[in-house]
Symmetry: C2
Subunit: 425 residues, 2 copies
């Protein structure tokens, strides 16, 4: 029976029951952390061999370049090749960088602000206002970049196919101040959904009032499947090219969740014209990124198939953790109609939506009970979830044995918050 | 006898002699490259052992942190400690980053432009004009950053003690648009001079019209001595603190020329207040830099004394190359009064000044003869040496055996250009 079909007395009784269970948990002095979207130690062990000096090949690239010395701004050719395979573009469309794709995205925005998007475009900062479309729920670190630089963020709701494209098309067509949009097109953070090819194609072809509109495509999870293979998806760069907007999209990715989060390599891809301009700018910022680490990665991962082999091992560890969360949610909450959740086929998160106005209360109840969750609102621009519904669950970091219990606690908290809300209605 | 004491006939005769020698060299189809301020392969071999996995200590920091994973924005504590020793500041004043200090300098300028220097200061880009003082000759990559972002550069001449401080003090006192200044205080690029403590102290205490004036102190060569030990020098950060301008200076450095240019670690230091603000900004740009490489470096280099041991080995290789250049200059040109050159006790360059208006001609003559030199003007903002005098010689990269010959060619080119000039006067 669904909670909203309960009588007031039944709700009251159920709340008392759940409070009793909650207090039992509380008495146990639990301590769990479900906040961090980072790999567990067992995942990091998968690529330990990569640190062996044999993968440095005497510090020489395939073209016999000494990777210890200065130079090679856009990455060693074999690393460009590897990312070209991962991102389904040509090596000429790729620049390989240091250990963090977030860094590249941040720097791209700061350059667009100061220099414009290239080709003598007006610097974004010369406009009175710069706005970005932000599909929600989304990645807090994207939003933090916009917030730092005073870029106004506009929420765009998402469904299982990606952002609401009718809304997106209407917004970009009519507002020249909208200069960019964040997307995480595959295994989206946090919902785990995969944008449909139709959404990708509409993003690529839509008419924009601003001719310097750019799509920041964070493809962080492009090969991060939980099942058998990565989801197939239209390539936004080639879709943009087909639609006559070749320079619209930039894809960012990294090996942070393939090899090591703290010591991976990152890359970005775009049209050849964009890449030419970006390399020129980057040449003022650095003489080159860490080529020894690029070498290590390429010699260890070898090629796309090598990456997929690693990702299968990652999935073997991750999938049971996701299943543990989903099983508890299913067992404890299905049929009550108080929670919606996603069933991701990849990525790092499970996104849950409580009844309206309950997310903050849930997180606070859980905290009191020793279960740390990502703060409610974190998945929205300005940390403000207008409906106070969304919570991001990160199952990757805790050991398998420490997932069921905190999710059980979470379910009790969800029940309590929902019952309180229904009683107050 | 000095050239300028020659009669016209003597000059003519000498020019014919030198042209004959020049043409003999030319006939040999030489090919030498004296342009690149990068370490030679033998220098890179000094630290090869660092790549051994034993220096990763199982990927654990001293505080048992897993350096493979995300986190630790400001660098692992032991890396902060190491750079604190190198820069003579406290670890709290240090942030350790990725492989390039140039990258930090660039990013600092782009943030100051977009965000101001901190503490709610007005973003530099909101001013009609932003100007930087540039001691000359200086480092082309500093000037390139300013040029990219439209920062107007003002040349400040240098002598053996550093920049002309009377001029500097006058300029900054009267022009609020002057927001910054580049300095390379020790073994300056390219002159190799060491700023005197008096210059450091005047930089720290001078009155600036702009209260958001900042000194970008590129201490790239802080331990890069050629003799027995690094030159002692007053610390600009503590001098600034003493003078009541605690936030004025930021020091940048790296291990690029200690371990590996392409795969070192970098750091910057400033007042604790600045560092607090910079960490906040950096936290939007990245989740953390490559901590495995930080770990490798610290476990291999250990501490300041360990760094000095490595630098002694570097000097053993570099010093004979510097001497080879200086010996040829001395042997071929001393007494002619057509060239001034520096005798550096550290750093990577020898700076030479021809007679006025001769540098471009010298570089072009050398090129025709198969000797590549850094383009004349490269050591000045906008690549314009107003006196067309300065040329930067980089002796580090070629093997020892390939230094005497190109410098002999250079000397002939200098003689020819000087004779031409004297004949045309």
């Amino acid at each position: 029976m669904k909670y909203y079909e309960y009588t007031k007395e039944m709700l009251q009784k159920e709340l008392e029951n759940q409070m009793e269970i909650y207090n039992e948990y509380k008495a146990r002095n639990l301590s769990y952390d479900m906040t961090r979207g980072k790999p567990g130690a067992d995942q990091l062990d998968i690529c330990m061999e990569m640190l062996d000096t044999k993968y440095l090949n005497n510090c020489k690239s395939q073209a016999n370049l000494d990777c210890r010395n200065y130079g090679v701004l856009d990455g060693i050719p074999e690393a460009k090749q590897l990312f070209a395979e991962i991102l389904n573009v040509t090596p000429k469309q790729v620049i390989v960088c240091g250990n963090a794709s977030l860094n590249i995205m941040h720097d791209m925005i700061s350059r667009f602000l100061l220099l414009g998007v290239g080709n003598n475009a007006k610097p974004w900062c010369k406009n009175e206002k710069v706005k970005f479309l932000c599909p929600v729920p989304g990645y807090d670190r994207h939003f933090a970049i916009c917030e730092l630089y005073g870029i106004e963020m506009i929420n765009v709701p998402m469904d299982d196919n990606g952002p609401d494209m009718d809304l997106v098309e209407k917004l970009v067509a009519n507002d020249e101040a909208i200069k960019g949009m964040w997307i995480v097109p595959k295994y989206s953070n946090p919902s785990g959904i995969v944008y449909s090819d139709n959404v990708i194609s509409r993003l690529a072809s839509m008419k924009c009032a601003a001719d310097d509109f750019r799509i920041f495509c964070d493809d962080a999870y492009t090969v991060h499947f939980l099942d058998n293979e990565p989801a197939k998806q239209a390539n936004i760069i080639s879709e943009c090219a087909k639609a006559g907007n070749p320079d619209r999209a930039i894809i960012f990715t990294s090996t942070s969740k393939i090899t090591f989060p703290g010591a991976g390599i990152s890359a970005y891809a775009s049209s050849e014209a964009n890449i030419e301009c970006f390399v020129k700018w980057m040449g003022i910022q650095t003489i080159g990124h860490d080529k020894l680490n690029q070498l290590r990665h390429v010699n260890f991962l070898k090629n796309y198939d090598g990456v997929i082999e690693i990702m299968k091992k990652q999935a073997e560890i991750l999938k049971p953790k996701f299943e543990a969360v989903l099983n508890v949610l299913d067992e404890k909450l299905s049929g009550l109609d108080i929670l919606q959740w996603t069933i991701p086929h990849g990525g790092y998160f499970i996104s849950i939506d409580t009844l309206e106005g309950c997310a903050k209360r849930v997180v606070s109840l859980a905290k009191e009970c020793g279960v740390a969750l990502t703060p409610a609102g974190a998945t929205f621009p300005y940390k403000k979830d207008p409906n106070d519904k969304n919570i991001r669950i990160a199952p990757s970091f805790p050991p398998s044995s420490q997932i069921t219990m905190p999710i059980e606690v979470l379910c009790v908290c969800i029940k309590i918050a929902s019952l309180e809300k229904l009683l107050n209605n």
